[in-house]
């Protein structure tokens, strides 16, 4: 697994993905008095997933603000506050509810700079957890990143490790544009190493999570650890899988993806979101439109969520999104 250059030489410690998000927010709030957090139950409750636990105690109720259940106001308020000098972080409790604020996000925040002829700066982050696996069914378990990738003016970040979550969130808070930061519910409790020192992971830079020469797997979010597990299994059969994690979908690091596919000649794109009009289609098009096309030894394959709402029953829920078996089969098929 490759690492950010600044990570390799430093002492590390293990923290959870949720703690990484919290550390990023807290460090930025200590560094910059303009940064604040608001959302539903982010204060004393500590957020529905405990991400902001302890923050109100450190920063007080002015900078860690509980809001009423008003998603459009939360996101639009972030835009208005950003436009006038603050650097707000707005938490939407489940990414599924972000569509309640879609006008404020997509028609307002995303477009202000362009509509106003380049004069506006809208430095805001909307954090929201996505993904299935919690049994909360169709309105609490979706992965809707493609919606936000389709709205020019937004940046879209989907971190897969504690290291990336912390570094990318710090970069997002420092960015002068609206950033949709999609956290992975099932990864909140997973631990991983982060450096002791301050670091930032720049937006728009993919990470090769595992090197390999036979097949490229492009994947993000919760699917990254699943694909790494599959890659470890396949290695036993001598199949070397390269796992490329774009980390930010907008802006997309096309070069790293294309370079990897040029090398391997085979690619599987894996995402939890439903397949139709999913971002995997965009990645496939990026590859097909590039020089990598001439290096392809097999068709581009996608392994994605089926085009169904997330069901309640655990067996059905698990089957609705990519499984290690489906990913493994796709890779083996390409090599057959």
């Amino acid at each position: 697994m490759t690492k950010e250059p600044q990570q390799s030489a430093q002492a590390t410690r293990d923290i959870t993905y949720a703690a990484a998000v919290r550390e990023a927010m807290s460090e930025e709030m200590r560094r910059d008095p303009r940064v604040l957090l608001f959302g539903e139950d982010v204060g004393v409750y500590g957020g529905a997933f405990g991400v902001s636990v302890g923050m109100i105690e450190e920063f007080g109720p002015e900078r860690v603000r509980d809001t009423p259940i008003s998603e459009a106001a939360i996101v639009g308020m972030a835009a208005g506050a950003a436009l006038t000098g603050l650097r707000p972080i707005a938490e939407i409790q489940f990414s599924d509810f972000l569509v309640l604020a879609l006008d404020q996000l997509g028609n307002q925040a995303a477009k202000m700079r362009y509509m106003f002829g380049g004069k506006a700066r809208v430095p805001m982050v909307v954090r929201a957890p996505e993904g299935s696996g919690t049994g909360a069914a169709a309105q609490h378990c979706q992965s809707q990143e493609a919606i936000y990738c389709h709205l020019p003016g937004l940046k879209v970040v989907v971190p897969s490790t504690p290291y990336d979550a912390k570094g990318l969130l710090k970069a997002s808070i420092r960015d002068d544009n609206p950033v949709v930061f999609l956290e992975q519910k099932l990864l909140y409790r997973k631990s991983g190493p982060i450096p002791e020192q301050d670091y930032v992971v720049p937006l728009g830079k993919a990470d090769i999570k595992r090197k390999g020469k036979d097949v490229t797997v492009v994947t993000w979010g919760r699917m990254v650890p699943m694909c790494l597990d599959v890659a470890a299994v396949l290695e036993k059969d001598g199949i070397q899988v390269e796992v490329v994690d774009p980390r930010t979908l907008v802006p997309l690091d096309r070069a790293t993806i294309i370079e990897s596919v040029c090398k391997t000649g085979r690619v599987v794109i894996v995402h939890e979101a439903v397949q139709t009009a999913g971002y995997g289609g965009e990645i496939a098009a990026v590859i097909a439109d590039s020089d990598a096309f001439f290096h392809l030894d097999a068709p581009i394959r996608r392994v994605a969520g089926y085009d169904v709402p997330i069901p309640y029953n655990p067996k059905l829920e698990k089957a609705a999104v990519p499984t290690p078996e489906r990913i493994e089969r796709a890779v083996r098929d390409l090599l057959a």
Partner: protein
Amino acid sequence: MESAMRKLSPAPESAAALPREQLGRMYLQMLQTRAFEEKVAHFFSRGMIHGTTHLYIGEEATAIGAIAALEPDDLITSTHRGHGHTIAKGIDLNAMMAELFGRRDGSCKGKGGSMHIADLDKGNLGANGVVGGGLPIAIGAALSLQMTKSSQVVICFFGDGAMNEGTFHESVNLASVWKLPVIFVCENNQYGMSMSVKRSTNLDDLSERARAYGIPGKRVDGNDVLAVYEAVREAKAFARTGGPSLIVAQTYRFQGHSKSDANKYRTKEEIAAWRAKDPIPRFRKYLAENGAFSDAELVALEAQAKEQIEEAVRFATASPEPDLETLLTDVYAE
């Protein structure tokens, strides 16, 4: 409602005591707005201004009266019918007209047009193409002011149509809970496109809704520029310590909603009755009778406004089209 209205602090001075210079400026801005809109209609009908237009003719007293009560560094959010707010907030008329023509020297480089004019340097946080879209943005700006302990306030303009959007409920409630320094000014021009407020709302006085949010509410004659001024001045004094309030300005758009409007949903008699309440002659009469303005001075202001708009048209039509290279810029800040 009575008790809610009493919560507004009494006016320390009446609108009539306004300096003569300010009264003259208010009259000039009303005239500029009217002349601007008439020019827009003129060039629109000739195909020289494209897209769509939402004219503010008939409603000038509301924007100009409200913004006259602000300091220059106070903030506003505007609407799709926002030319009056934009002029009252002090935009460069040349750049504004150039924006309507979609030209390079437009206030948004020709990228925004009528519905997205903003003038951030002057505290205008932007018009809005979405009904109710500006309300959450206004409370965000008010949050900035509160967090930085500023004495500035925000006026959030919206129409009667926006009062039935969810963002109205979410934003007014949140502003009330946090006591944000924002003044919600509803321009009740009686119609959301063709939908009469009588058919969209089961209330005679929309300001009664304020009570549901625990904030003061007041209905004013939106065609009386001094009445609007007075109400906003009171609301502003309240905003700094007490938080938000709601003002509903009763007014009327003389023109249709936009270019496609054949006025089938309202009668000639109704339009004529409101035209008789035209805010501009009404204020002129006041100034002539009470404001110590001679007829010659008023005529001079009228000529000045016309000439300024003619100059804006000359500037706009002389401004080049934007370069195609600008198409892809300004999407993201570096």
